[in-house]
């Protein structure tokens, strides 16, 4: 594996391998000495053309934990705001010795373009491209599910038979896309719940079930409910009548949380709109994995950087 662009490219064995390595990295994060020498002398360039807090910090923490040097470039405050092209920006980074390019861009497909363009020899990690994919988020989500659902027997396992509901703005969500492909590969069954206006048009091709309200999806007694952020920045026109209406039909409220089985978990990739897609007390409850997801995110990204490093066969 030279690049990580899409969870679609991962075989089941590769995906489970990444989750197992993530587990080992979680252990390292729990030790007194949290640093590994693995990427000593290598440079990870975080290139963020789109705003991000946790993904950027998470990749930085992961790279530093592997002893890599990190340089971070954001669109604001760089020559990108002077109109420098993507190609020129990336070739500049390459000339400065970037071995890994972690790339976030508001346009779908940019990471794949960079990886196949021949502009750079660096490993490319997609950190979110438009509404297309966010593979490291899917890996940390799958890891969080596997640890919570299988506990000590998780190693080497997939998510076979797990019943997972993803609710919210599926159409604009790269998190949903990456999750669906990965969860399918890992053997989970996925139900997407959203207003019709927020379901993608090609949904029949996705290999998932759909539900038109969250209550309908909860009737299937899920193991996991993943709530997605309502992305106000990607919404130009009215996809649903009002925020209170959204919350009424698709919000993860306290009453809906009470319907879930005891072992079920509620996830959110952050940043949360409390009171809209997830109620504050659900986000803070024992079911919620929100902070666990952030913690696992660093470990998952360490696993990805390490796995891309080996010689290509």
């Amino acid at each position: 594996m030279k690049h990580l662009i899409s969870t679609r490219d991962l075989s089941r064995a590769e995906a489970i391998g990444l989750l197992d390595t993530t587990a080992d990295m979680v252990d390292v994060r729990g030790r007194d000495v949290k640093k590994l020498p693995t990427l000593r002398g290598k440079t990870v360039a975080n290139v963020f053309f789109e705003d991000s807090t946790r993904t950027r910090l998470s990749f930085e923490a992961a790279a530093l934990a592997l002893s890599a040097d990190v340089s971070t470039l954001t669109a604001q405050g760089s020559s990108v705001s002077k109109g420098e092209s993507l190609k020129d920006t990336l070739q500049t980074l390459e000339a400065m010795g970037a071995d890994y390019i972690v790339l976030r861009h508001s346009h779908s497909g940019v990471a794949a373009t960079v990886a196949t363009s021949g502009w750079t020899d660096a490993h490319v990690v997609n950190a979110g491209d438009g509404t297309h994919e966010h593979p490291t988020q899917a890996l940390l989500d799958a890891f969080t599910m596997r640890s919570r659902l299988s506990g000590a027997t998780a190693r080497g396992a997939g998510l076979d038979g797990a019943n997972i509901v993803i609710v919210g703005d599926i159409a604009h969500s790269r998190v949903a896309r990456s999750n669906v492909w990965l969860l399918n590969t890992l053997g989970a069954s996925v139900t997407l719940a959203a207003p019709k206006t927020l379901l993608p048009k090609d949904i029949t091709e996705w290999g998932v079930s759909t539900a038109h309200t969250l209550d309908e999806a909860l009737d299937g007694d899920p193991d996991v409910v993943m709530t997605l952020r309502i992305q106000k920045e990607r919404m130009s026109s009215g996809y649903f009548p009002s925020e209170s209406e959204y919350s009424r039909f698709w919000g993860m409220t306290s009453n809906r949380s009470a319907r879930l089985k005891d072992t079920a978990i509620v996830m959110h990739p952050g940043p949360m709109n409390r009171g809209l897609e997830i109620a504050g007390d659900v986000a803070d409850s024992a079911r919620s994995t929100v902070t666990e997801q952030v913690r696992n995110g660093v470990a998952a990204r360490m696993a990805v950087l390490y796995t891309l490093t080996g010689a290509q066969s």
Partner: protein, 174 residues
């Protein structure tokens, strides 16, 4: 053609002898921790711990030390899967760590293991036990306890099979 160099009784005898040597080298020190390097070192560590406990009953901890992320050939070789590291809950500070592996060759795995140990704590003593030493060291490293010295050519392969993973106890060279 693979040539068998150690059979099950040979392996048992070698491990028993190493067990005696470990007890002798303790010189009254307690707090033994056997750390096996995956995959086969882990099972050899468990066997040695049992043997030592039989020879001289004492409290012995057994664990696993994954050295993958400490290797110096990560960029050159295709990606190796990591394995869990499992050490006693009380840590390894002040203990006598016996590192255990199946084959000693270039010495690079042991070098990585020493770094991995340093990241986990500060044992009083670290010793290294190996079932087969096949020579061709690339670093100034030697084993304290050796089951069998096996002169080999660089292009030969030494294969260690253990009942726990391979269903049979045997060392062969091809």
């Amino acid at each position: 053609m693979a040539r068998i160099v150690l059979t099950k009784p040979d392996i048992d005898r070698a491990l028993t002898r190493i067990g005696h040597e470990i007890v002798e080298s303790q010189r009254g020190r307690t707090g033994l921790v056997f750390l096996g390097i995956p995959t086969r070192g882990v099972f050899l560590a468990r066997r040695l711990a049992e043997i030592v406990a039989r020879i001289e009953p004492q409290e012995i901890a057994v664990g696993t030390l994954d050295v993958t992320m400490f290797r110096d050939d990560i960029q050159q070789k295709s990606t190796r899967a990591t394995a869990p590291t499992d050490i006693p809950a009380s840590g390894i500070d002040g203990t006598t760590v016996i590192l255990v592996d199946d084959v000693l060759y270039s010495g690079r795995t042991v070098r990585a293991a020493l770094d991995a140990i340093t990241a986990l704590g500060r044992p009083d003593v670290v010793r290294f036990a190996v079932l087969v030493d096949r020579g061709h060291r690339e670093l100034p490293i030697r084993a304290d306890f050796v089951g069998k010295n096996l002169p080999s050519a660089v292009d030969e392969r030494v294969n260690v099979s253990l009942t726990e993973v391979d269903g049979t106890d045997e060392v062969s060279i091809a």
